[in-house]
Symmetry: D2
Subunit: 156 residues, 4 copies
């Protein structure tokens, strides 16, 4: 199972009046880490969206915040694909500064197509296309087929 | 059990290239909702921080994202205090646009004091002070005493 | 000349490690104020974008930051349309907290159409449509016709 | 005169519903670029703030937005110190993607000390300390002495 890592420093804009990184910003980092992970296996979010109108929005996330982090300190997010289903996938994210674990969390994301018939934006949950499943299978260690049901009602 | 509500509209700055509110922004809304909830029971985050060096950072959160929301649509976050412990508390947040549920989540927050001896910022988990517990008890329906252990190692 | 006002409070997410609102956030407030101003005269950014693919991006801005502002303090942005040209317009924004001036700035915005032929996003500067000019004329005190030239090269 | 450069990519969180980077975010990039510039000459924002309670907030900024930029495209901000006064300095920022100029702007920043006597945050404009002037002089090509007057009234 592949782990992909992004590295950066806490910026001034990430901090809050408590003097360290604003906790919910960790979820932004998850988002950046997921896009970088998928790009590393050949799935480019920008191209998927502009060419195929595909997107993979988060339907569920969770995070434990273990340590806060000061301005300018190095941050590393290690991401792996822990679950792959017909319409969704799950990623695990661990956030470190050096060896210190700052937080740990996950995202469940579904595969959708964003249609805009007559300028009426509509989101439809679709199976992850086969060629994309193949790319994801290489870096995942589980795959389940099945029918999507939980979010039939995804609207916008 | 009290439910406190904040209301606002999705702003341009909240949107992303998928054309609706950026999902992780919901966690920012939780933060705003929590501070407003506590203010409504007489606990003002800004005063707690500047006068007593108290803060109540998130140690755990989770969210289900059920529907996305367009620019300028009304959003309402309904918040209640579902758990009160000696060093921590838990809040439930439900996000609506009109009657449509956009997402639902929770935050666990611990009570800390931020010390800065010789400019060395240090975060110490402390019991929620008694007069603040009393204010929270009025709007909660559960309270547990006990010793804090999970996050003894909170550092910064 | 009409002045339109929005009001809100500084949120925790707006603050930085200096303990007050992060200055560049004032430019986000300008953006929100501009959209609210235009909505108040019947021009809804979301509809303009989804129905006509019109947008009015900022081509120039400037701001003086006079006072900073703490968490939870009330903020008011007063906006007026100071210039209306064939392809662009200029807005003046004054930011107050109570009677105290926090900052003062402006935005120049051009009228564009965002085309996506074959998924190739292209931005074209166009004249502000006549029915929209009429709405803007009611709240402006100057109008100049002329040919657009400065930003012929706007690309994406 | 030294030019310092930072490089990064447009992230998903930087985009808006128009499908490219949200313009006011450029001002956040200026902020990051300034801190990186000063760090490169030995002035570390985090240490200045925590050890000496010094900060250098923006009092004036301006920006021209020339081209917008898509998700994941490389961005480079080139920063130089164009003016150094007794209590303030001015930086020029040019934003590129490859050879394409995205925007160009400046910030004027003043040197302040943030005092918190009895938890009452107060900002005082002070001369830039001599050892810091020396570091800045090496990378600037102008220096003016004089008395600070413009922002005597900076409050918080």
């Amino acid at each position: 199972m592949k782990t992909h890592t992004i590295e950066f420093e806490v910026q001034h804009e990430d901090t809050d009046m408590q003097g360290a990184a604003f906790n919910p910003k960790y979820l932004f980092w998850f988002d950046t880490a997921t896009n970088a992970f998928l790009k590393s296996v050949g799935l480019h979010y920008g191209q998927l969206l502009s060419q195929y109108h595909y997107a993979y929005p988060v339907t569920e996330c969770g995070c434990q915040f273990i340590n806060t982090m000061h301005y300018d300190r190095p941050v590393k997010v290690a991401t792996s694909l822990t679950e792959l289903k017909e319409h969704s996938f799950k990623l695990q994210h661990d956030i470190f500064s050096g060896d210190m674990l700052l937080g740990s969390g996950y995202e469940v994301r579904i595969w959708v197509r964003i249609d805009q018939p007559e300028n009426n934006r509509r989101i439809v949950v679709v199976p992850i296309p086969e060629e994309m499943v193949l790319k994801l299978l290489e870096v995942s260690n589980s795959y389940q087929t099945g029918t999507y049901s939980e979010h039939d009602n995804l609207q916008d």
